[in-house]
């Protein structure tokens, strides 16, 4: 059992749901990843998804894509992200999962070499959003060999039979996309109840749900069904705005994650 399994198992035992904030490495300030991870742990995150910047992130909307481009321009590299995570890992108990393009995995020596480096840096799992089930065999083996979870994605357009195969190939948790399209904030909470119920019939893997989740209210709606809520663009945008306005981005982010985490508790918030 890896750390991701342990975290979900403990939460299940205690009847808790998890918040999974997303942070784009190298954003809003180069070298700030360790500080942001610490802030998110303090604010109540269970697992943090660390996006490794990529030049062509086709599944990401403007907030995350522009954060990635800015991070790359300021010199952020996968090797640098590994170093930052390695430095921060010791003092943290949260799970840390890398969100990384298959292009990067492929260029950095392929699945085995990449998984080894990710594991050595202190990552607990991987999400590879542009690598669907059909192309995942080597990654599944490599992740298992290096003790990393590998969460495949299920979309609203995924037929039920295929969703079952994806869930059974995933380790750690299944990443359920709340909507089609790309990452980005939306006004409405997603309707995921029926899809989660259907998937639960065939898997006991934890289900984390992301895409378009932007408020504590959305978090509440999501964790009513799923085991975890993933929040990305809304947080990335706040960090960027705070940084641009000269505010303390780490603190602004911490406050927002705390507010989001309030949605984990029934009856809290508005």
């Amino acid at each position: 059992m890896g750390r991701i399994d342990d975290i979900f198992a403990l939460a299940r035992d205690e009847n808790r749901k998890l918040l999974m904030p997303f942070v784009c490495a190298g954003s809003p300030i180069p070298g700030s990843l360790g500080a942001l991870l610490g802030a998110m742990e303090r604010a109540g995150a269970g697992i943090v998804e660390v996006g490794i910047p990529f030049s062509d992130p086709i599944a990401d909307g403007p907030a995350i894509a522009s954060a990635m481009h800015a991070a790359l321009e300021s010199g952020c590299s996968p090797a640098g992200v590994f170093d930052e995570v390695a430095a921060a890992r010791q003092g943290l108990s949260i799970g840390i999962v890398a969100m990384v393009s298959v292009s990067i995995v492929s260029a950095m020596g392929g699945p085995q070499a990449f998984c080894q480096r990710a594991h050595e840096a202190g990552f607990d799992g991987l999400i590879i959003p542009d690598c669907p089930l059909e192309e995942s065999a080597a990654l599944i083996d490599a992740a298992r060999a290096h003790g990393l979870s590998l969460s495949l994605l299920v979309s609203p357009s995924t037929p039920p039979e295929r969703a079952r195969e994806i869930a059974s190939a995933s380790t750690g948790f299944v990443y359920m996309l709340a909507r089609s399209g790309i990452t980005g904030e939306r006004d409405q909470a997603p309707e995921i109840g029926p899809r989660v119920r259907e998937l639960r019939e065939s898997t006991d893997r934890p289900i984390a749900c992301g895409f378009g989740i932007a408020t504590a209210e959305h978090v509440r709606a999501v964790v009513e069904h799923a085991d975890a809520a993933i929040v990305g663009s809304a947080l990335v945008r706040r960090w960027r705005d705070a940084h641009e306005q000269g505010a303390d981005a780490v603190e602004v982010g911490e406050r927002f994650v705390r507010e989001l985490a309030s949605g984990l508790h029934a009856g809290a918030g508005a």
């Binding site: 990529f54 030049s55 062509d56 992130p57 086709i58 599944a59 909307g61 403007p62 894509a65 522009s66 481009h69 790359l72 590299s77 996968p78 090797a79 393009s101 298959v102 292009s103 990067i104 995995v105 492929s106 260029a107 950095m108 959003p129 542009d130 690598c131 669907p132 089930l133 059909e134 192309e135 495949l152 994605l153 299920v154 979309s155 609203p156 357009s157 995924t158 037929p159 295929r162 994806i166 996309l177 089609s180 399209g181 790309i182």
Partner: protein
């Protein structure tokens, strides 16, 4: 769907003949595949299924053939390029060398390039799927114009993504798309060119896939696009083959095409890949130099990697970030290439090379003056290397260059780059000299270096301008 005769005793070390690629997983050897977000997987499957269904659908292909004939203007001619042939012979190391050069005239297709072959085919597929809207990415604007044209002809809504840098550089085509009723959406992210337009089109498609079809413009992207685009472009190769057999009584010794994503090359090569006696040459954009960022030549200077949904040769750094690219030609200005080309390279079926911006510009002018054809800058790359290759071949051999598009879109850019160095032809070929030369010829003297005049072509010369026109595929 190829009507190529089955001559598949292939010498290439592969279980599967090259013409029978890709396999059921969308693989061309180790290349290709489907590296896309899960949201697109079902759309790509739907596309694969529809495409498999229409293979048996007589009506579909009849409708497409009809449109290609009466709307696009196919078949395009195969033209014997005597001026270019003469130039190749002048450059040849000996009198035994210098093959005859033929041009497959895709510039004569409606909208001025081969791109329309694919957009009409995918436009009909869109109708077949019951979708009402198409999206497309474009660099130079040729695929955008071809998509806008197909949309207008087939009654579809059309949005075209175009890097804001290309919107500025290719103003004429932006205006054409607007006139045709399409919406041009400038893309401001990343390098603001073709790669970023492709990202944005994919993002659109992830949210609109229920009612929208994405018409990819080249043999790139996730399966089944590299196969579908190649198949719709294979009409170039099938026509060329039939025309060669009719005009020459034999297959050509060599076929040359430019390669950006590689759709015109895949289209013309596909008819010949199983004919081992036909040498195939793909020509990439060598840009300013071989340094990273100065060129767009992934097959010659890149390495295997994943970009835009498939595994192929790409230009990226060792951390997988896509490299900046440069080419004088906006249509070749792309860091990836079709996975089938990657496979053809690795099994040594096609020889890939690159020519520089400067060489392409020279070939652009040479073609204009020697043949009276202003080629696209993309095509000029193929012309440049085609001339070199022809000059090294035997004199009785024949070489076909795919003239993938015409160059009207490029004249302003070429004028900006080298306009002040372009001399009028007259100044280089005074009447005095022409008369001298005729005198020389009458006395058996060697032909000079000046471009041809009509006197050099007896009317009985086979394969002149109009010869290919009547060839059906």
């Amino acid at each position: 769907m190829s009507d190529t005769p089955d001559t598949t005793q292939t010498p290439v070390p592969n279980a599967r003949p090259l013409s029978a690629m890709p396999d059921e997983h969308g693989r061309f050897g180790e290349f290709g595949g489907v590296y896309v977000p899960e949201t697109l997987v079902s759309a790509l499957r739907e596309l694969s299924e529809i495409y498999a269904q229409v293979q048996q659908d007589r009506q579909f292909w009849d409708r497409l053939s009809g449109l290609l004939r009466s709307y696009v203007g196919r078949p395009t001619s195969l033209f014997k390029a005597e001026g270019l042939t003469r130039q190749a012979r002048e450059n040849a190391p000996s009198r035994e060398r210098g093959a005859t050069i033929w041009l497959k005239r895709e510039d004569l297709a409606h909208t001025g390039a081969h791109k329309i072959n694919n957009t009409m085919g995918q436009g009909l597929l869109t109708r077949k799927m019951g979708k009402r809207r198409i999206i497309a990415e474009t660099g130079a604007g040729q695929h955008g114009v071809a998509s806008a044209t197909a949309a207008a002809a087939l009654g579809l809504e059309c949005d075209v993504y175009m890097g804001s840098e290309d919107v500025r550089r290719q103003h004429l085509n932006v205006v054409r798309m607007k006139m045709l009723g399409a919406r041009v959406i400038p893309v401001d992210s990343g390098s603001r060119t073709l790669k970023d337009a492709t990202n944005e089109a994919m993002r659109d498609w992830m949210g609109s896939v229920e009612h929208t079809h994405y018409i990819l413009g080249s043999v790139v992207g996730p399966h089944p696009f590299p196969m579908i685009v190649r198949d719709f472009q294979s009409i170039i190769g099938r026509e060329t083959k039939a025309q060669c057999l009719r005009l020459l009584g034999a297959l050509p010794s060599a076929v040359v095409a430019c390669v950006g994503g590689g759709s015109n090359a895949a289209g013309i090569f596909s008819a010949f890949v199983d004919d081992e006696e036909v040498k195939l040459f793909g020509v990439e954009a060598g840009g300013r130099s071989g340094k990273p960022g100065d060129h767009a030549a992934p097959l010659t200077l890149g390495a295997p990697g994943v970009l835009h949904g498939s595994r192929s040769y790409v230009l990226q750094d060792d951390a997988g970030q896509t490299s900046p690219v440069h080419s004088v030609s906006a249509g070749l200005d792309y860091p990836g290439v079709g996975p089938e080309h990657a496979h053809w390279k690795d099994v040594h079926r096609v020889t890939y090379s690159s020519v520089t911006d400067e060489q392409a510009l020279d070939a652009f002018l040479l073609c204009a003056r020697a043949e009276g054809i202003i080629p696209a800058l993309e095509t000029a790359h193929a012309l440049s290397d085609g001339l070199r290759i022809a000059s090294e071949m035997d004199r009785d051999e024949h070489l076909v260059i795919c003239l993938s598009g015409r160059g009207d879109k490029d004249v302003e850019e070429v004028d900006r780059l080298i306009g002040d160095k372009i001399e009028p032809l007259r100044a280089r070929r005074p009447r005095q000299r022409t008369r001298d030369k005729k005198k020389k010829q009458a006395t058996g003297g060697e032909n000079g270096s000046s471009p041809r005049t009509d006197e050099h072509h007896p009317p009985s010369d086979p394969g002149r301008a109009d010869q290919g026109q009547s060839d059906a595929q």
